[in-house]
Symmetry: D2
Subunit: 349 residues, 4 copies
């Protein structure tokens, strides 16, 4: 079996678990008042080249929903692409933590919020109207839920529209390491320098184990988020075990090395199948995910060959590369795709 189901089916990077185990010495104050969590603030502030507040949380859903709840009043609207994870896969956690805040889908290619469409959507909410709720924030998933990556100017264009109306900006960075590895820019450039107020900092999908984080760039958001996290049950009493994981994750660029590997595997597969007429990519492969429209029967055949992946519809398959996918595994998928999908295309000649 070769597993392309998800990046959360994979192992954790050993460095991260080692750090967790090493944190198991002596006593330390609970609920984040420990030295590890204090150091975490420093490390992330260095990493992002500005003073940030970083809050470890158990899951990306918690990171997203609590971030959005900190940006929007309960009568607020959060704009996002229809394909965004917050809209399709978190059981409306944002609406729950936000006391009824509403997600407002905006069109855009490849899972991105299109700045022009966003501006048009906002125009339907004239300032002062009460009936439709209050536009409050916009969500960018970076990398997107279709495997594409916002370029810096694309982020900036969305931010400009948001700022012109006083909206805040959330980046769902479940795969932010993959985006950074792709863009080769600094974490600061991709986030607060581009206008992002708050970031869901994903680690789990990229070799993490039991925590992600929220990184707050706008200081006025942090104190109320802290108390929300407390009552959201997201503040571990033995927080050091989470903070230690996150420090190991970014130490010496581990996170970017891991993402570079998973990106490379996806690129290798995408490169291998380029030019096969019967295979249609739904979005450019810019991170570690491949969304492929496949000909009839191909999915059954791939599964019969031992490949694991998700069926998003009768014809759409998703393949996700983890950091530890080998070249051989990538090549095996390419070969299988050629075997099962290229032939019909030839037959059509």
């Amino acid at each position: 079996m070769i597993d392309y189901r998800s990046d959360n089916t994979g192992r954790a990077a050993p460095e991260i678990l080692d750090a967790l185990v090493r944190a198991n010495e002596g006593t330390a104050l609970g609920y984040g008042a420990d030295e590890w969590t204090a150091r975490l603030q420093e490390r992330f502030s260095e990493l992002f080249e500005t003073q940030v507040r970083v809050f470890p949380v158990a899951t990306g859903t918690a990171a997203n929903a609590l971030s959005l709840a900190s940006l929007a009043p309960s009568w607020g609207l959060v704009f996002c692409n229809a394909a965004a994870h917050i809209n399709t896969a978190e059981a409306n956690a944002a609406g729950f933590f936000g006391g009824g805040l509403k997600l407002a889908p905006v069109a855009g290619e490849h899972g991105k919020v299109d700045a022009g469409e966003f501006a048009r959507a906002l125009a339907a909410f004239p300032p002062g109207q009460l009936h439709r709720g209050e536009p409050a924030a916009v969500n960018l998933t970076q990398a997107t839920d279709l495997g594409a990556v916002y370029r810096f100017d694309e982020v900036r264009a969305v931010v400009d529209v948001a700022r012109a109306r006083g909206l805040k900006v959330h980046m769902d960075g479940a795969r932010v390491a993959n985006a950074l590895a792709r863009l080769q820019c600094s974490p600061a450039d991709l986030t607060w320098r581009a206008g992002v107020d708050i970031l869901s900092f994903g680690a789990t999908k990229n070799g993490g184990a039991l925590c992600d984080a929220i990184v707050v760039f706008s200081p006025e958001l942090a104190d109320r988020l802290a108390i929300q996290l407390r009552r959201a049950g997201q503040v571990w009493s033995k927080m050091r075990f989470a903070s230690a994981q996150l420090m190991a994750y970014i130490e010496n660029g581990l996170w970017l090395r891991l993402a570079t590997r998973s990106n490379a595997a996806a690129a290798r597969i995408a490169g291998g199948i380029a030019g096969i007429a019967s295979l249609k990519l739904v979005a450019p492969v810019e991170a570690n995910e491949i969304f492929l429209e496949l000909p009839p029967g191909a999915m059954d055949a791939l599964e019969a060959d031992g490949f694991q992946f998700y069926r998003r519809s009768a014809t759409l398959a998703r393949f996700v590369c983890r950091f530890d996918v080998t070249d051989a595994e990538a090549d095996a998928l390419v070969a299988a795709l050629k075997r099962h999908c290229a032939l019909p295309a030839k037959a059509a000649e």
Copy 2:
């Protein structure tokens, strides 16, 4: 420094971290659809001698608040002792997850809900009235937040009152291992056989690291809890790392051995100071916590000697024993208490 601040300042039991590290092999489906989590269901069902559903969660607050939200409608009332953790220390997480459910304090000694007081409180809510909300559940903290342990008949008396009015029963078992170690009864006897519907199963305070659990005895509660947990951001995508911890925690009675040790340390201290007139225990020492009323100046003196503990008021100190408190540390506290507190009592003679 000798640390009696909390049982969450302590280390994790090495067996638990070992298990976590061992789970880091191969790929596994996310969100609890893995083999570890499947085995967890079996192990806990064996442990509790009935078919249970067990959901790992990040924190005790999440366990409590989501348990209560599964028992009560948003207009429900949950009765508890005024000293209960859910009432004093979780930033009203129960009210938040419960959509506005309300905690209704009930009097009782040593942090316990007194069955008679509970019955009197319920009598003020005649069936059919709408103005005061709907009595929905009762919460028992076992061991209590003052370090006492409900005896079996005390649990049963509260349950009987609850059942007579159709209320559900939640046990906050942040220190359930300590209670079991004290009572020497089976997990089943203490919980579902006594009428408990849902249990916050604590591990963190007793040598755990990053997870507690919810154990559901009433099957009709489980499915809706599962989806609530999903959108509460409490379902790890790499759940195996949580499930592995919990299995190690109960394997070969580890949890009870750990609790036996911390209970013994507390008992050793309580025994050592018995008979000192100037020291007043707020509740019997039946688990791993000691609540002491101290004479003026004693707390400063203890801190000067290097003891760490919490001041609950100007005169009330809390000392908590972890599983790894040594006899020497216990004896040192006894000696210091005698030194600083016994003398004034003598002087007063």
Copy 3:
């Protein structure tokens, strides 16, 4: 000025205010325990030919949001047409009262939920999945927010899809009188006999003053709705003044006579402009609303002539007929529309 802005800009029917004033005698128990409210239950049960529970509420938003919250868990999804009032104009009250429940737009012509599209949408939620929330209910706006009326078989088709998956059915009847007047069917046929579980019974837009109502056909919903209304601040202590209005509203068919008049005015206008090429109806005029795409400049010209109406976009105007629109007013609008809009069409010849 001739006012076509909304049916809520209009007067109340005098019969309704007379009844309110007549209720001002003697004392009566509060919060709905009065004789008027008891009689209201009887009258509505007769009207709907089944035992119903009817709850007066202050507004249609309260009726809709609390109805939906009674049908769906807080993790539930409520399907509706994208144009539905609950989706576009109530500041996400449903999400608020529902604790984060989510509206899921479904395509369909003229503001209707299309049964086929609804079935396709539901197919994306396989039973047992947790990530996307739980399909819980469907909302039908009758008459629709574009002025069309669901035929009986159209309601039934949507209900069939809903029932096959265990979903409940809510009808937003802000203009249910207009729909009934159009369809000439019984209230029972349009609602519970067609499978509707709960109805927002509108009165305000059709000559009412200060209350609408919720009519509950599924008895198991009523008790918990009663307590939700209490804490939603929707239970008047002097309920008799609301109940008296609602009884007068339905007495001797007043409500249907009022709706027949406003429908007739709209039909007269629609008939008068039929065949004008430059005027495009967005939906058939089946109730008391007319949605017209107008040529450039026409809206300014109409306003200059003293007509009041709402601009839904740069080219889309909405004209709403109240029960007291006169034939002369209707004819004046027809004449003005011909004057300002027909000419360009002629010029184009």
Copy 4:
């Protein structure tokens, strides 16, 4: 039957219904954009001698819960007397609208928050702690739920404690007219000049019909309250019918005349029974309510005589005077109380 059950069992003042009926002319914009509601802002600003925002709402529960939700974050604590209506009789509407905010009872005589007790309660919440929630506001019920009236200096003392910690102040004025009539001070002095931020302005209990109001003194609260009201279903589309009632209520001092009458009736009864040893007032009779501890059998005897009232416990009866209680009715109650209660006392001599 003579009805002392509640002030909400009574009639509306005819002036109020007359105004409602007179508002039924012409068309007017919906949702409060009408001339009546604009004039209401002016009249209330004159009445309170400062620029206020006034929002008509359907019920006192809505006024209280939405006021508190505007003062406190969802993790906030609102201090109040244990007997406060918000704590005992609104099905925890404050917790619901406040997204889980928590009421924190404070001791005090006669239903009042005692400033000293309040300060002591606050001291248990050191700034910066997260575990217990965030103290956010204090609620004063004026007149209290036991029929007493806060004197100006008592309000001020509570406000001083609140302000020293940055808390906001809400006054539940369900019977604010009775308090004003008692204190003979200006509405401004009793409210914003004393430090009140927001007022639930009761009308229903004092001759109103279908609306109360929220009066906002702190302008920064008003805009977000406006949108909360919209989605709370508390913004009538035909708002003029509510605004007209409220204007009539305060016009030419009607509200104070009505309250003076009900206060006088209560005072007449209290005076009539003064000195009867077997009757014990729970609080001084300073508004229109009388809470009496009665000897055994007295309540049955009173009911047999045709008096209606509420039994608050086996021995505590509540008698409420409406504005239209006659002297004869008051004297009849006095006579009956003497008949049934004074005799046993004599007999005991």
